[in-house]
């Protein structure tokens, strides 16, 4: 008989003992548990990417008794497209007659980071490590969008190959967050990929592809080579009615 002793870092021990909320049933597109997954959201401008993220944030920060997940969210905003007023509108849509205190309690669970260049972004990833150690309620990290500083970086001697550029950023984010097992969601523009194809990047577990045809919106979820296509609507209240297409 052989006994193996496994070494564990202090941080890993802490993570095992602290109950971090689990993201489950975030949206109809992601019905199952998302522990330490990386989800890529891809699409052209005005196909509903950022709105979809805002819907996800709303679902996370709303308390459990109102069908939410009661989870903290970190949102790294590189594009500057995040609109907090929209988020509050969506919260008020989900919780009918929400008062100011409830909105305050929800918004207190959201942490925003505005970042304007890549070197700062990399240091910010390290900062997240410290932040998540302190905050055990954070259960989701969002990066919007990964391509924001590509042109600046590529001229000053950075990575030129677009897919590798994405992988480099995401894997260094993952490295900082690996002990916490929180899922990561990130967006990129459709044109921002070196190879057009169905295969996922190595660091990505799922991909959601957003498309718009006229006034109809479509989202295709790819996971382990299985594609599911949903049709949805966008109106003043946000995203509604995900319908699975046959």
């Amino acid at each position: 008989m052989e006994f193996k002793s496994q070494a564990e870092s202090g941080l890993q021990l802490l993570e095992r003992l602290v109950a971090r909320p689990i993201i489950k049933d975030l949206t109809p597109l992601l019905p199952d548990e998302l522990t330490s997954e990386t989800i890529e959201i891809i699409g052209n401008a005005s196909t509903g990417k950022t709105l979809f993220l805002i819907e996800c944030i709303a679902k996370c920060i709303i308390p459990q008794n109102a069908c939410g997940l009661d989870t903290g969210v970190v949102y790294i905003d590189l594009d500057g497209q995040f609109n907090i007023i929209k988020l509050v509108k969506i919260i008020k849509r989900i919780i009918k007659n929400a008062d100011d205190n409830l909105v305050k309690a929800c918004l207190n669970k959201l942490t925003l980071i505005n970042c304007y260049d890549s070197p700062t972004l990399y240091v910010t990833f390290q900062r997240l490590k410290l932040f998540l150690t302190e905050q055990s309620q954070v259960g989701l990290v969002i990066l919007d969008s990964v391509s924001a500083n590509y042109w600046q970086d590529s001229v000053s001697g950075g990575e030129k190959y677009m897919d590798t550029y994405v992988e480099k950023i995401i894997s260094s984010l993952k490295l900082c967050l690996e002990d916490f097992k929180v899922p990561i969601m990130f967006t990129r523009q459709s044109y921002f990929q070196s190879k057009q194809g169905d295969s996922l990047l190595d660091c990505v577990n799922r991909r959601i592809l957003f498309k718009r045809l006229g006034s109809d919106f479509f989202a295709t979820v790819t996971r382990r080579n299985v594609n599911l296509c949903y049709k949805f609507n966008i109106n003043e209240l946000g995203i509604s009615e995900f319908n699975l297409q046959g």
Binding site: I84, N108, P119, Y122, R127, W151, Q152
Partner: protein, 300 residues
Amino acid sequence: MIRLNVPLVPDKNVLNNLFEKNICTVNDFLQKKTSNLQSVCNLQCKEITKLKDSMTVECSSPLINGYTLYLSKTLSTFIQTGILKLDKLLDGGLFVGNIYELCGPSACGKTQLCISILLNIIITTKKDIVYIDTKNKFSVKRIKQMLKNKNMTNNEINDILKKIHVYSVIDIYNLITCLHGLKQKLDPIIIIDSLPALYLSFIGIYKNDGLCYINHISSVLKYLCNKNATILITNLAVKNCDFINNFKPAIGKYWFHIPNTRLMITSIINQQQMCINISKSAYIPLDYKCILSINDHGVS
């Protein structure tokens, strides 16, 4: 790159040791193992960890609480353009903290529209406005004419002209310097006429240098927007070389996702009118449109 310097690393000798080992930036330092750094710096493990932590906090972007942000955003509202049809189209006016893009073919009235909006804002709000002119065609004469037609006295006209801060920039580097200089201003309103004039000289050059600068400008603009700036930019539309001959913006795909709202302008031939179409927006339904007319008083 964020270079290591004396306040970040308190001891100058330690700093020199790091430079000798080619550890020059904060990221280099953070990525090295603590045990390796111990020998380079001659410091204890505890001190290195402390240094790393303070560096991380010092050089990263600030974390903002969602509720704090919400409180700061509910106060700010929108600035009316003073052109009734346009305000109606835009659901009230120009929202503070947003980037608006006016895109249209040459001679469709982009500059006229900018000047009209500029004067209307000054007349109603008495705010200072920054006008960045890249083509050296800012015309005081035309402004005087528009104001005279509004029956203003010379003194009133002078007061209005004092509120306009015109920056003439001749190349993209000037523009970048100029925008960085505006970081100190409180809630600025900035009009850039026009961006492609500076960008077009880079087209066709290997390595996409032009896009790099546009990327940098976008970063600064986003920074300014976060500080409650309102930005209006004109962009040229050029004819596509395909059969349909549709107009497309001169700065391509990358730029498209920078402005919050894009207004496409098309001129209506021989009628001194222009048609404004929403072609990108986060909150207005796409393809809403309105028709404005241009005359001696400006655009209305």
